[in-house]
């Protein structure tokens, strides 16, 4: 297995005990930890050059503006966007998807048009479209999920008939499945539909190239990729962004304002009304630098290896069922143990210093599909080490024993 454990020292939070045991952090699909390089960058901004961007004529403001725009360039390069002005800073993936729903979809979709989603979407890629449907009589369709936890693309061509937008997750936050977004995009474009990819789980864990995917919109969050909370990204093709009306109105996003009307600024400012999340965006730039140094290919390799090892060892526990058996998958692993509810598992693990997630993972339709109320989920990142899997497996056996089951 590729050894990336040398990076653990950059994450001070990992070096602590919880309930008297060394912390084992396996809730990375919810949010990732932050390295000193990111914490230091945010700290430095507030200590040395905190000021507003784009309008100050003073030294600090110029420095803040340069750092903020530099972060935009770094993010653009990281996802291989052709132009940095195509990178819009939002709060998170949810806001990025809502931005597309509230602006592009409201302007360009009309009654009778269809949007194609999938059964494995996070609520953030379902609810914005439910809200849109309340306003416009659009139709929502869903690519089904197979029992193995993969998208069933057999009937994709028929499903695409009359579809104007396909919005699909790049990597499932529950099943770990990496979806063939290139194939879906090609088919969608052939049918005349635009494509939005929810990359919240993909960008932190694998190399992403929006030009190779050839999608039209790509959304992701900073906090899942070692960046601060409160900053996310919407990437979209420049010509599409220019055709879209603004999302929020206010300062920073205007060209000229009169009492009764205003002209809007060009992209990206058109979509960044008000004082933006300056510290967070600059922090995200530092996170991108950090991840690039570790190497996204290395991170992907590590996660596929540690994910495969974790699945193999988890399967040795009798009565444990894993959801999502795709060959192409990341290291978010959902499971249940017969007779022990996921919340009880999470509490018992926490008592041993292990942080996992239990619940519906904001994917209730997928839970229903697999006929479960909730699952437990262990999700790994590059700083996790194989020894942590063994401790996890032992703790799960303890949970079974506590509930009176033979392990």
């Amino acid at each position: 297995m590729i050894d990336l454990s040398r990076y653990r020292k950059d994450f001070p939070i990992l070096n602590q005990t919880v309930k008297g045991r060394p912390l084992i952090y396996l809730d990375n699909a919810a949010t990732a930890q932050k390295p000193l390089q990111v914490i230091g960058t945010v700290d430095q901004y507030y200590r040395e050059y905190n000021s507003n961007v784009h309008r100050g004529l003073h030294t600090l403001s110029e420095r803040a503006t340069r750092a903020y725009e530099k972060a935009r360039e770094k993010v653009a390069r990281f996802i291989h966007a052709p132009r940095s002005e195509e990178v819009i800073f939002t709060r998170n993936t949810t806001e990025s998807i809502n931005l597309v729903a509230y602006t592009w979809a409201r302007k360009f979709l009309k009654a009778g048009d269809a949007i194609l989603l999938t059964e494995m979407e996070h609520h953030s890629n379902l609810v914005p479209w439910h809200l849109l449907r309340e306003e416009k009589s659009i139709e929502l369709r869903f690519i089904p999920v197979t029992p193995r936890g993969e998208l069933d693309l057999q009937h994709l061509k028929q499903l695409l008939d009359g579809v104007r937008l396909v919005s699909v997750t790049h990597m499932s936050n529950v099943l770990g499945t990496i979806n063939p977004v290139e194939v879906i995009t090609e088919e969608a474009h052939a049918a005349g539909a635009k494509v939005l990819i929810d990359g919240a789980q993909a960008v932190p864990h694998m190399p992403v190239n929006v030009q190779d995917i050839d999608c039209d919109f790509y959304a992701f969050s900073g906090h899942k990729m070692c960046g601060p909370t409160g900053v996310g990204v919407l990437w979209a093709r420049a010509e599409i962004l220019r055709d879209m009306p603004p999302f929020l109105g206010g300062g920073e996003m205007i060209h000229e304002v009169h009492l009764n009307h205003s002209d809007y600024a060009d992209i990206p400012n058109k979509f960044e009304a008000g004082t933006p999340n300056i510290a967070q965006a600059i922090g995200l730039g530092a996170a991108v630098d950090y991840l690039s140094r570790v190497g996204m290919e290395n991170i992907l390799q590590h996660e596929q290896e540690i994910g495969a090892l974790a699945i193999e060892k988890l399967k040795s526990i009798k009565g444990l069922r894993i959801f999502g058996e795709s060959e192409k998958r990341g290291a978010a692993i959902s499971f249940e143990i017969e007779g022990v509810h996921p919340h009880d598992i999470a509490t018992i693990l926490d008592e041993q210093g292990i942080a996992i997630r239990a619940g519906h993972h904001c994917a209730q339709p997928l839970m229903r599909k697999f006929n479960v109320q909730s699952t437990a989920r262990a999700s790994f990142y590059f700083y996790n080490v194989p020894e942590e899997i063994d401790i996890l497996v032992d703790a799960l056996k303890t949970a079974k024993r506590l509930f009176g089951y033979v392990t």
Partner: protein
């Protein structure tokens, strides 16, 4: 150890073999409660006779050991009791969970749930059935 304090034998036993589990006649008063953050759910039905005594009570639910055992223990505690005593049991159990207010009645087996207090995020699990019971009684006594 604190885990043993949380998952006492009696709790696990009620989780595996819930008492008063099932459904009454459809016509009986019913409350459905769900904890949206975790998906735990409970359906509770109750029969109050003319003397305002809990003649029968049943629940069905899906959820963690704490929520289901607490509901099961609750049905045992209130079955056959007059309404005013049931109210005291509800108040006393709420006090046991929150550490606020007074415990005015003997809680018996329900005391096994005291360990939950040390796990603040799990208190809402323990309270699920009780919240359903409270709202059901409010509705029933109004009508």
């Amino acid at each position: 150890m604190s885990l043993d304090a949380l998952y006492q034998e009696i709790i696990l036993e009620h989780y595996k073999n819930p008492r008063n589990f099932g459904k009454l006649d459809e016509s009986r008063a019913k409350a459905h409660y769900e904890n949206p953050s975790c998906g735990d759910q409970i359906d509770l039905q109750i029969v109050l006779n003319d003397d305002m005594v809990v003649e029968d009570i049943r629940f069905q639910g899906r959820g963690c050991a704490i929520s289901q055992a607490s509901a099961s223990l609750m049905t045992e505690a209130v079955k056959g009791k007059p309404l005013d005593e049931v109210q005291k049991i509800i108040e006393s159990f709420t006090s046991l969970m929150t550490g606020e207010g007074e415990i005015t009645v003997e809680l018996g087996d329900l005391e096994a749930l005291e360990g939950v207090k040390k796990f603040p995020v799990r208190v809402k699990c323990a309270m699920l059935g009780w919240t359903a019971l409270k709202s059901l009684l409010e509705r029933e006594t109004k009508s």
